[in-house]
């Protein structure tokens, strides 16, 4: 979607345009392999999701049959869905504002080009380079019973506070949220830095003449200018958090302990593969999809440019 918003209107070389169009009619054939490939392997499965969502399908090897809206009915009476909805909301409401506001401030900070900003940039890049499974294993080790956090607590004499962070019902969700923030903050900050570097210094200078400090320059000058971009990155982060949590949960907690880290995205995976109920899994996927669209529309409205 951002591509649509951002695609610059590139002036096509003027003169040959009309001639070019008639002559280039056959050219579109060049795009066919890519489009067909893309439709078969990406759009196709997505459409299939809407069909499977209305099926009774126990496992991938089991026979499937349509059961109308039965899966949808089941949704409303299902405790697990309610818990997952709550967990998803907590995960989102805590991590999204922290990541977005923090990253924006980080981006502004990096652009001040204070001593050390180059090395900081390199460090902030790290989460963008590590794979999900490496990140998962890293945190399994960092947060494990004898992992980095507990060893560190021991070192400073706070050993009695050590716990198996991912297996502790009180700490599993906060751990997941921290990992989400850890992995999202730095790279989003770099993206903001790239956007904010396009703001002319003269504008800041004018604000300084009026006595603005950094806080005011950040939120009264830079933010209004980058507002639509803020919205775009918020949408992306929203989608990643909403849909993407399953992978990290699979590696870290598998929804547990109990149901304490079971998000909607995790349920899609769980009913898809761990305790197969494929039709139901896709019904939840449908809910996720609707939540995704609704969220995008809301975020878009909130951050619509107002100038």
């Amino acid at each position: 979607m951002t591509a649509v918003l951002d695609t610059p209107v590139v002036a096509r070389p003027g003169g040959g345009r009309k001639r070019g169009r008639t002559r280039d009619r056959g050219l579109i054939v060049f795009a066919l392999p890519s489009v067909i490939w893309y439709v078969i392997f990406t759009i196709g499965p997505l459409v299939a999701m809407f069909v499977v969502a209305f099926m009774d399908w126990a496992g991938l090897a089991a026979p499937a049959s349509f059961n109308g809206g039965e899966n949808l009915d089941r949704l409303f009476g299902d405790e697990r869905i309610l818990t997952a909805l709550k967990n998803t909301a907590v995960h989102m409401v805590v991590s999204l504002p922290i990541i977005m506001v923090g990253a924006f401030m980080l981006g502004y900070f990096l652009n001040l080009k204070l001593p050390g900003h180059r090395i900081l940039r390199v460090i902030m890049f790290v989460p963008a380079l590590i794979s999900l499974s490496a990140m998962g294993m890293l945190f399994v080790a960092v947060l494990g019973p004898t992992g980095l956090v507990n060893s560190a607590l021991d070192e400073v004499g706070l050993g009695e506070h050590a716990t198996a962070w991912l297996a502790d019902p009180a700490w599993a969700m906060p751990s997941l949220i921290l990992v989400t923030i850890w992995s999202g903050l730095g790279f989003t900050g770099i993206l903001f830095a790239a956007r904010l570097s396009a703001i002319d210094n003269e504008i800041y200078a004018a604000a300084e003449l009026d006595g603005a400090n950094h806080w005011q320059k950040m939120w009264r000058v830079a933010y209004p200018i980058a507002r639509d971009y803020f919205g775009v990155l918020t949408m992306l982060q929203y989608l990643w958090t909403l849909f993407g949590s399953a992978g990290m949960i699979l590696l870290l907690t598998r929804g547990g302990p109990g149901e304490s880290t079971s998000t909607l995205s995790w349920l899609v995976y769980r009913f898809g593969f761990r305790s197969p109920d494929v039709g139901y899994s896709q019904t939840i996927g449908l809910v996720l999809f609707v939540l995704g669209i609704v969220g995008l529309v809301i975020i878009r409205r909130v951050f619509r440019a107002r100038y």
């Binding site: 392997f41 794979s131 210094n201």
Partner: protein, 297 residues
């Protein structure tokens, strides 16, 4: 980022002086401290990961921050054999390289076509790609698996080589199209007059002139293909013969959890090394690629 051309209108010394009064306010120092704390949370686990990979299981717990190097390369060779990482590395390379080739082979002509035609079909195609940004990959995981089964390609690496390029098309085509639009059409016209066909024009004019764009999408897709976890896990599966590095690594965890973090660290280190090596060589390029990719995606 930093390599932009300096703005001649604002002489540097003046700019610095103007920043002067604001430079070290308490608020700024506080922010600096916070940024350093965050940076530390990024660096410390990586440092710990690195040193733990080379020490004994006992040391990893007792002296978490000391680089004791007490077991040398033991952990690395042990995890290499245990998880059969040699095969995993080959499988990862095979899937990544082949997917990258397919991605480029279908995306380059498509971008050329979209950059040079303005018909309704071209607009429609661009819309279809734009939809791709709305669809988070994970959404269609189960149906994609069903497709793999339908095609008789369940548990094969080759299905990933079909799927990954498809998932990469929107970003690759849209980014490349923008690069291709900057190629002056006059060049193409004069080549056509000299008798060059379309493939010739694409190969001799567009390819060399859009190399930076091709490099960008290659880097982006190298990272995302190499790092792919969920799809590869579900479609290729954990069979040691075909699984990739990313799928092999978490099998260390087993069912009752793990206690040998030194081994986990060694495995994780091996899996992140290739991307970090490429980053060490291409860092500026890679940063720009990731920023551009995110801007469009």
């Amino acid at each position: 980022m930093d390599n932009r051309a300096p703005r001649p209108a604002v002489p540097a010394p003046r700019g610095r002086r103007r920043k002067g009064p604001n430079r070290f306010t308490p608020g700024l120092l506080g922010s600096y401290a916070l940024v350093l704390v965050y940076a530390l949370t990024l660096v410390l686990p990586l440092y710990w990961l690195f040193i733990s990979a080379f020490k004994s299981q006992l040391d990893a717990v007792d002296a978490p921050f000391a680089p004791t190097f007490s077991s040398g390369f033991d952990n690395l060779t042990r995890v290499w054999d245990l998880l059969n990482l040699g095969d995993a590395m080959v499988n990862s390379l095979y899937i990544t390289a082949a997917s990258l080739v397919v991605t480029l082979v279908i995306a380059i002509p498509a971008a050329y076509a979209l950059a040079r035609s303005q018909g309704r079909i071209a607009t429609l195609f661009e819309r279809i790609y734009a939809m791709g940004f709305l669809i988070p990959g994970f959404a269609a995981l189960v149906p994609t698996l069903l497709l793999a089964i339908q095609l008789g390609m369940f548990h094969t690496r080759e299905f990933m080589i079909l799927y990954l390029p498809a998932s990469a098309q929107p970003l690759a085509v849209i980014l490349l199209t923008q690069f291709m639009r900057t190629v002056p059409q006059e060049l193409e016209e004069s080549a056509t007059i000299d008798g060059a066909g379309r493939f010739r024009v694409l190969r001799s004019i567009y390819l060399p002139l859009t190399m930076p764009g091709i490099a960008t999408i290659s880097i982006l897709n190298f990272i995302s293909f190499w790092n792919d976890y969920l799809y590869t896990l579900v479609i290729v599966g954990p069979n040691a013969k075909v699984r990739t590095l990313q799928v092999a690594l978490p099998t260390l965890q087993g069912n009752q959890g793990i206690t040998d973090y030194a081994l986990v660290c060694a495995g994780t280190l091996i899996s992140v090394l290739p991307v970090f090596l490429v980053y060490a060589v291409l860092n500026r390029r890679m940063e720009n690629a990731l920023v551009q990719g995110a801007l469009k995606g």
